[in-house]
C-alpha cells in the first residue's frame, strides 16, 4: 500500500514511505516534523500551506506527496542559512509583516518564488503574485513594504 518516495527537502535528500493518498503537507508536517507550513482552508485558497516544489509555490494541502517524488521541496525551515535569516525574513522582521504568524511561512515562500522569477517586481506584480495568500491579522501593508524592501534591494 505504501510507496517509497525520495525528495530533496531543504537541500537534504530524504526517503519516506507514504500512502498514495497522503498530501505533501501532511507528510512534511507529520513525517518530517517540518511544521512551519500550516493547514488553513484545505482547498488551495488561503496560502498558509504553501511550499516550494522545484522552486514553484504549491498549495501543499492539495498536492499528493507521491507527486513530489524526485523533486526539490523548500519549506520555511530551509530559508535561513544557519543562524543568518533570509533577506525576506529580515525584511518581514524589520517592517513588522506578521502578527499571529500563521500565514507567514506561506507569504515568505511565495515571495521568494516571485523574487527568484523576477527580482524587481512592481507593486501591481507583487499584488498579483501574492494574491493567493490571506493574512487575517491584516498585515498586508507591512507585507508590501517588506517585499518592496527586498525587491528594491
Amino acid at each position: 500500500m505504501k510507496k517509497a518516495i525520495t525528495m530533496e527537502v531543504n537541500g537534504a535528500s530524504c526517503e519516506v514511505e507514504v500512502e498514495p493518498w497522503r498530501t505533501l503537507l501532511d507528510v512534511v508536517r507529520e513525517e518530517l516534523d517540518l511544521t512551519g507550513a500550516k493547514l488553513g482552508c484545505d482547498i488551495q485558497v488561503c496560502g498558509a500551506c504553501t511550499l516550494l516544489v522545484d522552486g514553484k509555490p504549491v498549495s501543499a494541502c492539495s498536492v499528493l506527496a507521491v507527486d513530489a517524488d524526485g523533486r526539490k521541496v523548500t519549506t520555511v525551515e530551509g530559508l535561513a542559512d544557519g543562524d543568518r535569516l533570509h533577506p525576506l525574513q529580515e525584511s518581514f522582521m524589520k517592517f513588522g509583516a506578521l502578527q499571529c504568524g500563521y500565514c507567514t511561512s506561506g507569504f515568505l515562500l511565495t515571495a521568494k518564488a516571485m523574487l527568484d522569477e523576477n527580482p524587481h517586481p512592481d507593486d501591481e506584480q507583487i499584488k498579483s503574485y501574492m494574491g493567493g495568500s490571506f493574512c487575517r491579522c491584516g498585515c498586508y501593508q507591512e507585507i508590501m513594504q517588506a517585499i518592496r524592501g527586498v525587491a528594491q534591494g
Binding site: 484545505d42 520555511v76 525551515e77 525574513q89 513588522g96 499584488k127 495568500s133 490571506f134 487575517r136 507591512e142
Partner: protein
C-alpha cells in the same frame, strides 16, 4: 510616519515572537505531538432544527482503530457529569441531547487511532431526525408563533456579575432583553425639529482566524487532566470544565500555545468539553482539530437588524435617540447577552443625547452560535448610528464633520448611563482623521471620467468588560533577569512584547532580561480573558504593580542591610540608589541571600468594579475606547464597482507602549473592518449554510487594499492604565464600514443600509436614482 515619538525606553521595535514565527519554529496547537494520542472526529447535524429520535453507533464501533464513540447517552447517563453548560445560560450540551439546533451542531464524536478511521466511523453513526421548522432570521424568530429554539433555558447559579439581571423571556426566542433609558424619549422627540427613522442590517460573518480551533485532552493516572487548547480565556474555560466534569479547578490544567489568530472566536468553551469527554471515555489522550468548515459551525459574529429613530433640534443638536437592536445569537446564548448589552451602551454613538431609549435583544435562531467578534456588538450599533448621522447631515444640509463635532463627547460629559466620561479623546481622533483625509478640500477628479470619488467619516465609543480581574506575578532571578507569569494569550496582538516592555521599563532593566512564560493555568495567576481589548490596560497594570512590588522588596533589603530609611532609597535604571551608592539588582540579591541564588516574587492584581472606588460613581467601563475613521472611495459609474483608495484611522490609545504593535493593531483592525464592509457574509438557504469555505466566503486579500491605510495614535492618558495606556485592539475596525457607506453616498448619492457594501447594491441604487 512614526506612530509615537516617545515609546517606552525598553522598546527597540522588535517583537519577542518574531524569531520563532519567521523561521517556522513557533509551536501552534496542531504542531504538537503526543505519544498515544487518539484523533477525534465529530458527526454534525445536517439539518437546522429537528428532534433527535435515536442515535445508533453500533456500526461505528466496528471500524478498525475506533477507541470510543460519544453520544447523547454518555451526556445523560454517562459519567456523572453536569450535562448543561454555557458562559451565560446553561443551554449547551457536549453533544446534542434532545434536539439539533443548527446545521453543524455536534451530534456524536469518535476517537480512533487515525483521523481517517475516526471520520469513517462518525459517518457510520445512524441518526434519525424529526424535522422542525427552522427560524433563520431575528425578525421571524421574535414573532409570537415562531417555533421555539429552546423549550427551556437553565440559569447558572453563579453567572457573570454584569449580566445577572438578564434572563431569557419564557416561551419566546428572546434570549435577553437589555433596556437603557435616559430622560423621556417621547418628550425628547416632541422637542425636536427633525425626526429620522431608518433600519439597518448586518449579515452573519465569521472570524476566519487562519488557525482553526483545536484541543488536546490527556487525563493523568491520578485523575488530573491536561489540556492544550486554542483558547483566548483559559481560566473561563477551566471554570466551565470544572462545572461540567465536577472537578476542582486545581485538577484541570490548560496550556495555551501561540494562537494563529483569535479576534474573539476563541473565547469561552468551544471544543474543550467534547475533547475532554471523549478522552475520559476513551481513557486515552484525544486530539480534535476542526476543519475550516467546522469552524463556521462553531462560532460566528451576530447578524443584526436595527431600527433607529433620531430626533434633532433646529440648531442641529442631537436630542433624542431611540433604537431597537436585534442581535442574532444563533442556537446558543454563548456570550450573546453581553454582546447585546454592549451594543446598547453605544447605540447612541459618541454623542450627547438628552433622551435615550435603547432596547437590545439577543435572539435565538437556528444558526450556529454567535459570540464575541472584534468590535463586540459595537460594530453593529455603530453601523446604524454612524450611517444615520450622515443621513441626518445630508437632509439638514450640514457638513457631516461639523455635525459630529457639534454633538460629540468631550472630557467630563455625561454618558447615556448618567456617569461622567473621562480620558475621552474622541474629538481629537475625529479632528486628526478629518485632517488626514483633507476634509473640506475639493476632491481631486479621478483620471478616468467614468469614475467618481467620495469621502466619509465615522466615530465611535465602546466599553470594555467591567468588572474584571487580572492577576500577575514576576519571578526575579539571582542574576537580575525576570520571568513573567501572565495569562494574557499571545494570539498575534504582540502582548508578550508589550507586557515585557512594561516590566522592563518599570524595573529599569533591558528587554533581553525579560522572559514571558506561555500560558499554563497551573502556574500563571488568574486572568479573566484575553479579549475586550483589555490586556494592556489590566494585565499591563498588574505587571507594572508586580514590578513595583519587586522594586519595593529590593529597596527594603537595602534599607535594612544598610540602615538607611526606606524613603531614602529609590530604584532607577535597574539599580537601588541610596546616599551616594548604587547597587545592581544582582548585588542586592547576593547581599540578601548571601550567595548567588534565591528568588523574589513580585505580585500585582487589578480588579475593576462597576462603582468607582474613589467617587462612588457608577462606572460602566473601566476605560472607554474611542476613535474615528475616514475613507475615500472611487466608484465606477457604469458598474458600481467600488475601490477604497484611502483609509485613515485614529484611536485614543492613552499611551503608546509598543509602536509597532500599536500600528499593527490599528491597521490590522481596519483591514478586518474592510472585509466586514465589502465582502464578508455567511449565506443560508433553507437552514443550510451555503458558503462554509474560503472560496465562497470572501476575505480581503492584498489586491483589495487601499493605496494607504494611515494609523494615528491619539494619546489621552488614563490614570489607571500602565504609563497611561488604554486598550487598542478593536477600535479601528468599527468605523470602517459606516465611513465607507458614507463615502459611497458622498460619491454617488446612494445610501446602502445593509452590509456588505457591494458593487451590485451600488449599481442598483444608481439605477433607482436615474
Amino acid at each position: 510616519m512614526a506612530i509615537s515619538e516617545r515609546p517606552l525606553s525598553a522598546q527597540d521595535g522588535q517583537r519577542l515572537d518574531y524569531q520563532a514565527k519567521l523561521t517556522g519554529r513557533a509551536a501552534y496547537l496542531a504542531d504538537m505531538k503526543m505519544a498515544g494520542v487518539c484523533e477525534g472526529a465529530i458527526l454534525r447535524s445536517p439539518v437546522a432544527h429537528a428532534w433527535i429520535r435515536y442515535v445508533d453507533a453500533s456500526e461505528a464501533l466496528k471500524v478498525p482503530g475506533v477507541v470510543a464513540v460519544y453520544t447523547k447517552d454518555d451526556v445523560v447517563q454517562g459519567t456523572g457529569i453536569e450535562p448543561y453548560y454555557g458562559p451565560v445560560f446553561k443551554d449547551q450540551t457536549i453533544v446534542a441531547v434532545d434536539k439539533v439546533r443548527h446545521v453543524g451542531d455536534p451530534v456524536a464524536a469518535v476517537a480512533a487511532e487515525t483521523r481517517e478511521a475516526a471520520e469513517e466511523a462518525a459517518n457510520l453513526i445512524v441518526v434519525e431526525y424529526e424535522d422542525l421548522p427552522p427560524v433563520m432570521d431575528v425578525r421571524d424568530s421574535v414573532k409570537e408563533d415562531a417555533t421555539l429554539v429552546h423549550e427551556t433555558v437553565r440559569i447558572p447559579e453563579h453567572g457573570f456579575a454584569d449580566l445577572a439581571e438578564l434572563k431569557p423571556i419564557e416561551n419566546t426566542n428572546v434570549c435577553t432583553h437589555f433596556k437603557l433609558r435616559k430622560g423621556d424619549i417621547e418628550q425628547g422627540f416632541a422637542e425636536c425639529a427633525h425626526v429620522f427613522e431608518d433600519t439597518f442590517i448586518l449579515p452573519t460573518t465569521q472570524h476566519v482566524a487562519l488557525e482553526p480551533h483545536g484541543c488536546i485532552a490527556a487525563f493523568q493516572p491520578d485523575g488530573r487532566v491536561n489540556l492544550w487548547s486554542t483558547t483566548q480565556n483559559p481560566f473561563v474555560v477551566r471554570t466551565q470544565l470544572a462545572n461540567i466534569f465536577k472537578m476542582p479547578v486545581s485538577k484541570i490544567r490548560i496550556m495555551v500555545p501561540y494562537l494563529g489568530g483569535g479576534y474573539g472566536s476563541k473565547v469561552y468553551p468551544k471544543i474543550e468539553p467534547l475533547t475532554m469527554a471523549l478522552a475520559q471515555k476513551a481513557k486515552r489522550p484525544v486530539r480534535i482539530l476542526l476543519s475550516r468548515e467546522e469552524v463556521f459551525y462553531t462560532v460566528t459574529k451576530h447578524a443584526a437588524f436595527i431600527r433607529m429613530k433620531t430626533g434633532v433640534r433646529a440648531d442641529g443638536s442631537f436630542h433624542a435617540r431611540e433604537a431597537e437592536v436585534f442581535l442574532d445569537t444563533g442556537a446558543f446564548a454563548e456570550i450573546g447577552p453581553r454582546v447585546a448589552k454592549k451594543s446598547a451602551y453605544t447605540a447612541a454613538g459618541p454623542y450627547k443625547f438628552k433622551h435615550v431609549k435603547i432596547d437590545a435583544k439577543s435572539v435565538y435562531t437556528n444558526k450556529p452560535p454567535a459570540g464575541a467578534f472584534r468590535g463586540f456588538g459595537v460594530s453593529q450599533s455603530a453601523w446604524a448610528s454612524e450611517s444615520q448621522t450622515d443621513i441626518i447631515a445630508k437632509a439638514l444640509g450640514r457638513d457631516p464633520y461639523e455635525l459630529r463635532m457639534q454633538n460629540i463627547y468631550d472630557e467630563g460629559d455625561e454618558f447615556v448611563t448618567g456617569e461622567k466620561l473621562w480620558s475621552i479623546g474622541v474629538k481629537g481622533c475625529l479632528e486628526k482623521v478629518a485632517q488626514e483625509m483633507k476634509w473640506g478640500e475639493p476632491m481631486p477628479a479621478p483620471d478616468d471620467p467614468s469614475k467618481v470619488r467620495g469621502r466619509g467619516l465615522a466615530a465611535l465609543i465602546k466599553a470594555t468588560i467591567t468588572p474584571s480581574i487580572s492577576c500577575a506575578a514576576i519571578k526575579l532571578n539571582e542574576d537580575g533577569s525576570v520571568n513573567v507569569f501572565t495569562s494574557t494569550v499571545e494570539m498575534g496582538q504582540g502582548s508578550d512584547t508589550a507586557m515585557a516592555a512594561i516590566v522592563a521599563d518599570t524595573l529599569g532593566i533591558p528587554l533581553e532580561q525579560v522572559s514571558v512564560l506561555g500560558v499554563d493555568t497551573d502556574v500563571v495567576p488568574y486572568d479573566l480573558t484575553t479579549s475586550s481589548s483589555r490586556s494592556t490596560f489590566h494585565m499591563g497594570k498588574a505587571l507594572e504593580l508586580a514590578s513595583l512590588d519587586l522594586c519595593e522588596q529590593l529597596r527594603r533589603f537595602v534599607s535594612e542591610e544598610h540602615g538607611v530609611p526606606f524613603e531614602e532609597t529609590r530604584m532607577e535604571g535597574g539599580r537601588v540608589l541610596f546616599r551616594e551608592n548604587a547597587l545592581t539588582i544582582r548585588e542586592v540579591l547576593f547581599n540578601h541571600f548571601g550567595m548567588q541564588g534565591g528568588t523574589l516574587v513580585g505580585r500585582g492584581e487589578v480588579k475593576t468594579s462597576t462603582v468607582d472606588p474613589e467617587t462612588g460613581d457608577k462606572t460602566t467601563s473601566s476605560f472607554w475606547f474611542v476613535g474615528a475613521g475616514g475613507s475615500e472611495v472611487e466608484i465606477d459609474k457604469d458598474t458600481g464597482r467600488l475601490r477604497v483608495l484611502k483609509h485613515a484611522t485614529a484611536v485614543d490609545v492613552g499611551r503608546v507602549i509598543t509602536p509597532l504593535g500599536c500600528q499593527q493593531q490599528l491597521v490590522g483592525g481596519a483591514i478586518t473592518g474592510l472585509g466586514q464592509a465589502l465582502f464578508e457574509q455567511m449565506v443560508w438557504d433553507n437552514g443550510i449554510l451555503v458558503n462554509p469555505n474560503l472560496v465562497d466566503y470572501v476575505l480581503p486579500a492584498l489586491g483589495d487594499m487601499p493605496d494607504e491605510i494611515t494609523p494615528i495614535a491619539v494619546e489621552v492618558p488614563h490614570k489607571n492604565g500602565p504609563f497611561g495606556a488604554k486598550g487598542i485592539g478593536e477600535t479601528s475596525l468599527i468605523p470602517v464600514a459606516p465611513s465607507i457607506a458614507n463615502a459611497v453616498d458622498d460619491a454617488v448619492g446612494v445610501r446602502i443600509n445593509d452590509l456588505p457594501v457591494t458593487a451590485e447594491k451600488i449599481f442598483l441604487g444608481m439605477l433607482d436614482k436615474s
